[in-house]
């Protein structure tokens, strides 16, 4: 793993690098989504609905 990789064509690495970038971004977005607080989550999910006394308020 500590040897330099031999490549015939630098462009061949594009798919692997792209996938790697996406995987990191996906992990970050998923982490952020999981961090969304319950109060804000319930408030945002209820935005389209007609307001009722039970509708969550903005935290």
């Amino acid at each position: 793993m500590f040897q330099r990789m031999h490549v015939e064509d630098w462009a061949l690495w594009c798919p692997f690098i792209s996938f790697f970038i996406f995987a990191v971004l996906f992990a970050i977005v998923s982490f952020r989504a999981l961090q969304l607080s319950t109060g804000k989550r319930e408030y945002l999910a209820s935005l389209p609905l007609d307001p009722t006394p039970e509708t969550p308020k903005l935290p």
């Binding site: 330099r4 490549v7 462009a11 798919p15 690098i17 792209s18 961090q35 607080s37």
Partner: protein, 832 residues
């Protein structure tokens, strides 16, 4: 402080009515062109048919498949789904932002401007004015109008967001934001052209680059015009119809960001098994497969939202349509990634399986969601009840039968034809079936497809009647609500630095960059890069711990700030296109042509090419022999094993002509060398002869069934009467030179002389072959020759006989050593 606002529902009503009207037109054209594939007479020979031959009509030019198919696609995508999307967006955005649309004037300009564009398309496309690129056929003046009107829509939408009384942007609005900015980016780049006249232009890109740009646009027209706005509509109307919150808001965050990032990369899956570089094909396949996940995430989010209200599926037509639309979305987004696998694509590409996939998405996803939304909106927009639930239910079932018949028939057609075309005869050295044999065997499926489409259209007509009756029974109503005015300090306050340069994130990206460098750098330098990556990761972790609260609720604060959100979405969608397209623009030209360089067209051949494009021939005939044994065996030249279409053979084609469907055979090797004039071996100056003689093409255009029994190609009798536009050629050649096509320097007289010489050569060969022109039976000898020399048919014959002409280009210089590949100059030359 509270205030009373009245929503602008007039615009919503307008867009909805326009969508329904254009939907009927677009689907009617679709049914017509479907029948043309089974019965060639439907290309305008109706009068002859209906009167039993009493009225003779050789076909009507503006009713051929090649002219009408672009009208169908533009009508259903931009007119039907476009207007539906605008109706849904204007209705939901106002209510999610708790504010009236920012400008009534801009709404009116948007509506009327969009309809005028559609009318212009409906006039110009059947007249043969086209750019020759799928879903991007409209001529350049109309393109400019589209950009202007889209800009009007964008200003109106973002202005409404700026004026909103609700601080947080609901997920539906994210999808609308992504739609608006990405469609603008895609449309502008793919429509970059240089005009040659008011009705004609050449694309900026050519050959493989044009193919990549076209399908970066084409696939993402599906993504960001047919999917993301409808997903936004789904996220609003499904919870509204069920009166239930979305199943998982967290899932919607992951769904949105994954979808908008991945979708852009999927374009190359339209070019699989061609000579496109393998890394690009791998990119398209990998990201298409990954796209399955966010697509199903969205589908499940929508369907599971309905779970507590599942019993209403039986009684409520709105829920019925929305749930079915989501199901078809899931089906189409499962099928698509599978078709993006090279081995599956080897069978499916160029066949009707692709058409089936497209229509499961458009009829199933777009059509059903449109119907559900319209049935939801109509009673509210006219303050009444839906006129007939029974009619809505009947619409649903007829549409279902129609879709299933349609897509099932074309699955069978596509797979049957794909397998037949690949099958070898006993002995294994020749192919078993001729192309026309496969066409004959799938005709029954084409008929079922037409029936399915007609059923779907009749269901949609029921919707139109139902909505019209509902409107008649009520009065137009603009909803009035009382809202709390939101002060500016409670929204759009996130600093740009915080939204774009989040410390832990910046460190993570830098660390990623050094990990990538670790793979490429020489000894010792690679270890240093790895060390830096590890240190940056530690720094990212400590920065995260130091600002944990601020970092973790970053997304919560981001959705209260529409401009930073828009910029981040734009960054997400530009990355994919940049990675795919920029390398092919920068890569060594030798690598782009692979040893073969296209011969430049003569002026007459260029004119013929433009007629070929104008008549829509590229919609049925491809010009791309794929890197597959059956393709090379069927369309390549005998004795040349690597006779697939190399990239250099089409490098000067503006626009590229690889095609995406084979209703007729591939034409990449249709042409041939300069013809011999006499027994001494003297050559003609320009005239070529390829697989078939000039007289064969002459008779084929006059009546395709004469040389090819069983063909469904329309006749083109007007090509024998209309003259080639020679006057336009100097301007066209000048533009081609601007685009980098290495034309020799020619003045107007030289161009005219070349055209005249070549046209006379071809016309003389036709006269010598004793061709007969039914519309002018008295023309013989020199009179016939002179008439034909001016006619468009000779120009198209000239073009067809040039197809496949290239010369070999040897590259014998070794690669220069580069920082990324220091050993490159020691490697052996590429072997095809």
């Amino acid at each position: 402080m509270t205030t009373t606002i009245t929503y602008d529902d007039k615009s919503v009503r307008r867009f909805m009515i326009a969508s329904i009207a254009w939907g009927i037109v677009g689907m009617l054209v679709g049914v017509l062109i479907a029948t043309q594939l089974s019965w060639w007479q439907m290309n305008g020979h109706y009068l002859e048919w209906l009167t039993g031959g009493a009225i003779k009509a050789d076909g009507i030019s503006f009713l051929t498949f090649g002219r009408l198919r672009p009208l169908h696609t533009n009508a259903v995508i931009f007119a039907f789904v476009g207007n539906m999307m605008f109706a849904g967006i204007y209705y939901s955005t106002q209510r999610l932002c708790k504010v009236r649309t920012a400008s009534d004037l801009l709404s009116a300009i948007h509506f009327w401007g969009w309809q005028l564009i559609i009318v212009a398309a409906a006039i110009t496309l059947p007249m043969g004015f086209t750019r020759g690129k799928e879903y991007a056929e409209l001529i350049w003046p109309i393109n400019l109008c589209v950009v202007i009107i889209w800009g009007v829509f964008a200003i109106n939408f973002f202005w409404t967001l700026a004026k909103r009384n609700e601080p947080s942007l609901y997920v539906a609005l994210w999808f609308y934001i992504a739609t608006i900015i990405t469609v603008a980016m895609l449309y502008i780049v793919n429509h970059l052209s240089i005009p040659t006249s008011l009705t004609h232009s050449y694309t900026l890109f050519g050959g493989v680059q044009d193919g990549l740009v076209q399908w970066w646009y084409g696939h993402n027209a599906v993504a960001f015009f047919l999917t993301t706005p409808i997903l936004g509509i789904m996220y609003y109307y499904v919870p509204k119809a069920a009166n239930l919150p979305v199943y998982s808001y967290r899932l919607s965050i992951i769904h949105f960001w994954s979808l908008v990032f991945i979708y852009i990369w999927a374009g190359p899956h339209h070019l699989l098994n061609t000579d496109l570089p393998r890394w690009l094909q791998l990119l398209g396949t990998t990201f298409s497969l990954m796209l399955w996940a966010p697509s199903w995430g969205g589908m499940l989010n929508g369907l599971l939202t309905l779970r507590p209200a599942w019993d209403r599926l039986r009684t409520d037509p709105v829920i019925k349509f929305l749930a079915t639309g989501l199901t078809f979305y899931g089906m189409a987004t499962f099928e698509g990634p599978l078709m993006a696998i090279r081995s599956v694509n080897a069978i499916s590409h160029y066949t009707d399986w692709t058409i089936s996939h497209v229509h499961s998405g458009t009829l199933g996803w777009n059509g059903m969601m449109a119907a559900g939304m319209f049935y939801y909106l109509a009673p509210r927009l006219w303050k009444t009840q839906l006129w007939s639930k029974a009619l809505a239910n009947m619409h649903f079932w007829i549409a279902m039968v129609g879709i299933l018949l349609y897509i099932g028939a074309l699955w069978c057609a596509g797979i049957t034809q794909g397998l037949m075309l690949s099958q070898l005869a006993p002995g294994g050295t020749t192919l078993k079936y001729e192309f026309l044999e496969t066409l004959g065997d799938i005709q029954i499926f084409f008929i079922f497809r037409s029936i399915g489409g007609a059923l779907y259209l009749s269901g949609f007509v029921m919707l139109a009647i139902n909505i019209w009756k509902t409107a008649r029974s009520g009065t137009p109503y603009d909803e009035t609500v009382e809202v709390t005015v939101l002060e500016r300090k409670h929204k759009d306050r996130m600093p740009w630095r915080e939204s774009l340069f989040n410390d832990p994130l910046a460190h993570i990206f830098l660390a990623m960059l050094f990990v990538i460098l670790w793979f490429f750098l020489p000894h010792h330098a690679d270890k240093a890069a790895l060390l830096v990556a590890v240190l940056l990761s530690i720094k990212a972790y400590t920065a995260f711990k130091a600002s944990a609260a601020q970092w973790t609720n970053w997304h919560e604060r981001l959705v209260d700030n529409y401009l930073p959100f828009t910029v981040l979405t734009f960054i997400a969608v530009t990355i994919g296109g940049s990675v795919q397209i920029i390398p092919t623009l920068l890569v060594n030209r030798d690598k782009n042509i692979e040893g073969r360089l296209q011969d430049i067209y003569t002026p007459l051949e260029l004119a013929g090419r433009d007629i070929f494009i104008s008549e829509g021939c590229y919609l049925c005939h491809s010009q791309m022999i794929r890197t597959l044994v059956p393709d090379v065996m069927r369309y390549g030249r005998a004795g040349i094993t690597d006779d697939y279409s190399h990239l250099g053979e089409s490098i000067y084609d503006h626009p590229y002509q690889w095609g995406s469907k084979r209703t007729g055979p591939d034409l990449a090797r249709e042409g041939g060398p300069i013809a011999k004039k006499d027994a001494q071996g003297n050559l003609y100056k320009y005239m070529r002869v390829g697989k078939r003689g000039n007289d064969w093409h002459f008779n084929h255009f006059l009546n395709p069934r004469a040389p090819s029994p069983g063909s469904n190609m329309p006749a083109f009798p007007w090509l024998f009467e209309q003259d080639t536009d020679v006057k336009a050629l100097p301007n066209k050649i000048a533009v081609q030179v601007q685009l980098g096509v290495p034309w020799p320097i020619l003045n107007q007289h030289e161009i005219t002389d070349m055209v005249e010489t070549q046209a006379q050569e071809i016309a003389q060969s036709l006269v010598a072959a004793k061709v007969y022109l039914p519309s002018k039976p008295d023309l013989q000898g020199d009179a016939l020759r002179n008439h034909l020399a001016k006619a468009k048919v000779v120009a198209v014959i000239a073009y067809l006989q040039k197809l496949g002409a290239y010369h070999e280009v040897k590259t014998d210089h070794p690669g220069e050593p580069s920082p990324l590949n220091p050993d490159s100059h020691r490697q052996a030359p590429d072997v095809p």
